[in-house]
């Protein structure tokens, strides 16, 4: 992905030199034309066309914002309820993610989900230990994480 962005950047600069026009508008036009030629030759690269990855990153960003709001609302509910009837506990979550940044992103996203918090990561980096405010629905929490976050992160790094 980085290679394709760099190439697109170089192509935009080439376009500016070819047209002898050193303005932001010329750069944008060159970038769009470079994007078009990259799209034309997209099968040339081992990775897929990079705009798809950027779209996945934007989706992940929106998931992050949505979960941030939901988490704070759910904590607010717990604090304001007159009687504490939640059962805290720790459960293990097995992940298939490999790269360092993927695991870090997943851990941070889990921490921001309503009612869960990453406590530790196992030495072989395959299990995340998660503290839940309410352990009763741990199975549901695991499947939620797997569907929403893990898939979104995999989509970015594919």
């Amino acid at each position: 992905m980085a290679l394709q962005i760099l190439l697109n950047f170089i192509l935009a600069l080439c376009w500016m030199f070819l047209n002898n026009d050193y303005t932001a508008a010329a750069f944008v036009v060159g970038y769009v034309i470079g994007l078009f030629s990259l799209f034309l030759m997209r099968r040339f690269f081992r990775r897929r066309f990079y705009l798809i990855n950027i779209w996945a990153i934007i989706k992940l960003l929106f998931i992050f914002i949505k979960e941030l709001v939901l988490a704070n609302v759910s904590v607010l509910k717990t604090i304001l309820s007159p009687r504490l009837k939640n059962k805290p506990g720790i459960f293990a979550f097995k992940t298939d993610l490999k790269a360092d940044w993927e695991i870090t992103t997943l851990a941070n996203l889990i921490t921001l989900t309503p009612g869960t918090l990453v406590v530790d990561i196992s030495d072989d980096r395959s299990i995340l230990y998660i503290h839940a405010v309410d352990i009763d629905d741990a199975e549901k929490a695991i499947s939620d994480i797997r569907i929403s976050f893990e898939e979104a992160i995999k989509e970015v790094s594919r």
Binding site: L7, G34, S37
Partner: protein, 143 residues
């Protein structure tokens, strides 16, 4: 054609960057055609030459995987576009192939002259790319 196993690392790596720059230059030539030297014909030839560079560095099969296009259809589509810009002038009560232009304020480019001659040029461009690539691929496929 005998298949010789060679290690073309340098050629292939340079081609990866150079073919894109040639492609960009061909687009530049295409758009420069109205007020400067350039136009559909040389732009199309230049685009074809960037694909020929790919053919030289890789083989026919790789290029067909990269661009799974039947270039005969490309030429046909180009001819169709050119002819329909000619016929399109009938709709405005003008003679065959008469062209019009006007100035528009586009969001990014500012005041730009948009001419229907560019549409005709796109047709020429596609015909040139299609014909050149068809010739080279048919010759290359023969054993």
């Amino acid at each position: 054609m005998k298949k010789v196993q060679t290690n073309d690392v340098i050629l292939q790596t340079v081609t990866k960057i150079a073919s894109f720059i040639i492609l960009l230059f061909s687009f530049h030539l295409f758009f420069a055609g109205h007020n400067n030297p350039g136009g559909g014909f040389i732009g199309g030839l230049m685009t074809a030459s960037s694909l020929v560079l790919l053919l030289l560095a890789y083989d026919l099969k790789t290029v067909q995987n990269i661009l799974p296009v039947n270039f005969i259809y490309v030429a046909a589509v180009g001819l169709f576009i050119s002819i329909s810009t000619g016929i399109g002038s009938f709709l405005f009560g003008a003679q065959f192939l008469s062209h019009a232009f006007d100035y528009f304020n586009l969001p990014l480019l500012g005041k730009t002259e948009l001419a229907t001659a560019v549409l005709f040029d796109i047709g020429v461009y596609l015909v040139v790319v299609g014909v050149t690539m068809t010739i080279i691929q048919t010759i290359g496929e023969r054993e």
